[in-house]
Amino acid sequence: MQLLDRSFDVSTVPVAGATLSAEALRGVEQFLYREARLLDERRFAEWLALWTEDGRYWVPRFHDQANPFEQISLFWEDKMLREVRVRRVENARNWSQQPLTRSAHLVGNITIEGLDAAGHLIVRSTLQLTEWRIEQRQLAGAVFHKLAATDDGGWKIVLKRVNLVNCDDVFANLEVFI
């Protein structure tokens, strides 16, 4: 089971520095803005394509959670589970998505943290997320992206970790990606 593969590097602490040109930095920022926009516009097929084959999406249940293997997580998803979630929310009989969840992601404070052991770029940003489904909900937190450079000069997501400020809260359902 891919989800239990403990060799997957979930650390967001850089092991080396990274220097990016102003243009490259702008490319990273645009990539994060585009990711947020695809979620807001529910363009899930395009969003799924932003990931590497073995990319992981993680929303820890605890502050400073070391890994998703010893403790529960609010989300811990590989490609297969991300696809299942998209299939479910797009199913015609998705009773809990009538009406749909609408969202506005505001991404800011983007900083380049450095590189991980495999040379992936670690990027930190702050997220303000307003969701609406019958009533409004605010979510916020720090987001860490680990990005792999692609041959055409773009990026793919290796890890997206969302540290919610209220990860230990009582939650209503979290149906779509944060």
């Binding site: 293997f69 297969m80 479910r88 359902n173």
Partner: protein, 452 residues
């Protein structure tokens, strides 16, 4: 009080129940007094308070309580209230209070069983009734506390059946959960989820054994899992546990539903028990149990394949995947579910990995399965607010349930027996209010603690 016993009794018919039981705040208040005020309610597991001074806050109905481990090794349950001005003594959550409780307002202190320890400037109370032995100066203990194999229950009523009698046949689910460990012990591990439902607490209990809803309510998730399985060419565990809801009606009809006294019961498993010899996790688990108990007993333990168990008023243990969904009523239309996962001591690590995966995929707020449940519960809550009719149907397979020595069993797995059984217990509680406990009972005697 405007609701007479006659009015309450008339709300439960053999084949239906009046919608006001879900929507009337006055009935909710009565339930807090008559059900949660007397039944044994699960407060937590002993493993959540391992060392002296460890505490875990939770609720018994509408009451905030603290489960705490005292120096004598016993687990006590006390109301989270300081007798001085009424402040909550500890904040919500888990922690360690050390050798005693100390109120953050004026520093009155209490032993870990709640009894009075001290307060500053005692001379100011000279000439009053102040006396450390006077229960008015202690934190109040819940009337009765007992533990069944590490599962701590408390009752706010000094009278009534003991815990074992109360549990009756449903204790076998707790036994089975524990026996899945080769040393017979489990511990809460990996953290708990808390999920809010916008519906009355009874709606969730009824749903737990509602086999007719699975393939209707959960179409979006079992279809998603099946489509994905088709695309990747296999049906791994993560998808299998979503796929089960899509079984045809004939499958559900063959399942067995057990109903015990006091509203408890269980539903037969929906996953194939013979998988024990096929999948590697179950195979390793079986090997460890065989070593501990012998092959015959091991087969019997793993062959006891139950899906949701119901301990009415407390929640729903799941033995096969080591979960306990604790159901906490918040208000007439709000229910909080606290989801615990257990580690089977001495079992292979992969068994705990599987329990965590099940919790993450099925029980977490991000579950692909639960949102559709929570949505239909809310629709029941809202639909029952309309003037579109007064009764909720419990007719399915009425009159066919068979008596057993300790309860009843369905003749068809789609029977609404579990709901009828729950409302029989509901009526029993609601028409028989708890006898008034002796006022100001403290932890000094038998009350308020469980055996170590």
């Amino acid at each position: 009080m405007t609701l007479s016993n006659e009015a309450l009794a008339a709300m439960v018919r053999p084949d239906s129940v009046h919608k006001h039981v879900y929507t009337d705040p006055e009935i909710f208040a009565l339930e807090m007094e008559r059900i949660y005020g007397q039944a044994w309610i699960y407060v937590g597991h002993e493993s959540q308070v391992k060392k002296t001074g460890d505490y875990h806050t939770t609720r018994i109905g509408d009451q905030d309580v603290i489960m705490v481990r005292a120096a004598d090794g016993k687990v006590h349950v006390v109301y989270n209230r300081c007798p001085h001005k009424g402040a909550k003594v500890v904040p919500e959550g888990d922690g360690c209070t050390g050798k005693f409780f100390r109120c953050p307002y004026h520093a009155w202190t209490f032993k870990l069983d709640g009894s009075h320890l001290s307060l500053p400037l005692k001379n100011g109370l000279e000439g009053t009734c102040y006396d450390p032995a006077n229960p008015d100066f202690s934190m109040k203990a819940v009337a009765r506390v007992d533990s069944y194999r590490g599962f701590v229950f408390a009752s706010q009523s000094a009278a009534g059946p003991d815990l074992k009698t109360f549990l009756g046949g449903v204790a076998s689910s707790i036994d089975n959960l524990c026996e899945r460990s080769p040393v017979g012990e489990v511990e809460v591990a990996g953290g708990t989820f808390r999920v809010m439902q916008k519906s009355n607490w009874k709606v969730f209990y009824e749903n737990l054994h509602d086999t007719m809803h699975a393939r209707v309510t959960h179409e979006s998730s079992f279809v998603a899992a099946r489509e994905e399985a088709k695309e990747i060419g296999e049906m791994p565990f993560e998808l299998l546990i979503m796929d089960g809801n899509g079984e045809p009606y004939e499958f559900w009809e063959k399942l067995e539903l057990r109903a015990y006294h006091n509203g408890h019961g269980y539903m037969e498993g929906i996953f194939d028990p013979t998988a024990a010899t096929r999948d590697p996790v179950s195979r390793d688990h079986f090997a460890v149990l065989t070593e501990a108990y012998g092959e015959e007993k091991a087969r019997q333990i793993m062959g006891m394949n139950r899906h949701n168990t119901i301990i009415y008023g407390s929640g729903s243990p799941h033995t096969v995947f080591q979960q306990f969904r604790v159901i906490r009523p918040v208000s007439v239309d709000r229910t909080m579910i606290e989801i615990q996962t257990f580690r089977l001591k001495g079992a292979p690590d992969a068994v705990f990995d599987r329990a965590l995966t099940y919790a993450n995929l099925i029980n977490s707020p991000s579950s692909n399965v639960m949102p559709d449940d929570v949505e239909v519960y809310k629709r029941c809550q809202e639909g029952n607010q309309t003037r579109g009719g007064d009764w909720v149907s419990l007719h399915r397979y009425l009159g066919t349930d068979q008596e057993t020595p300790d309860g009843m069993v369905s003749t068809n797995g789609t029977s609404e027996l579990p709901m009828r059984n729950q409302f029989a217990a509901w009526k029993q509680y609601m028409l028989n209010p708890p006898t008034q406990a002796t006022p100001n009972q403290t932890a000094s005697t038998e009350a308020g603690h469980a055996a170590a």
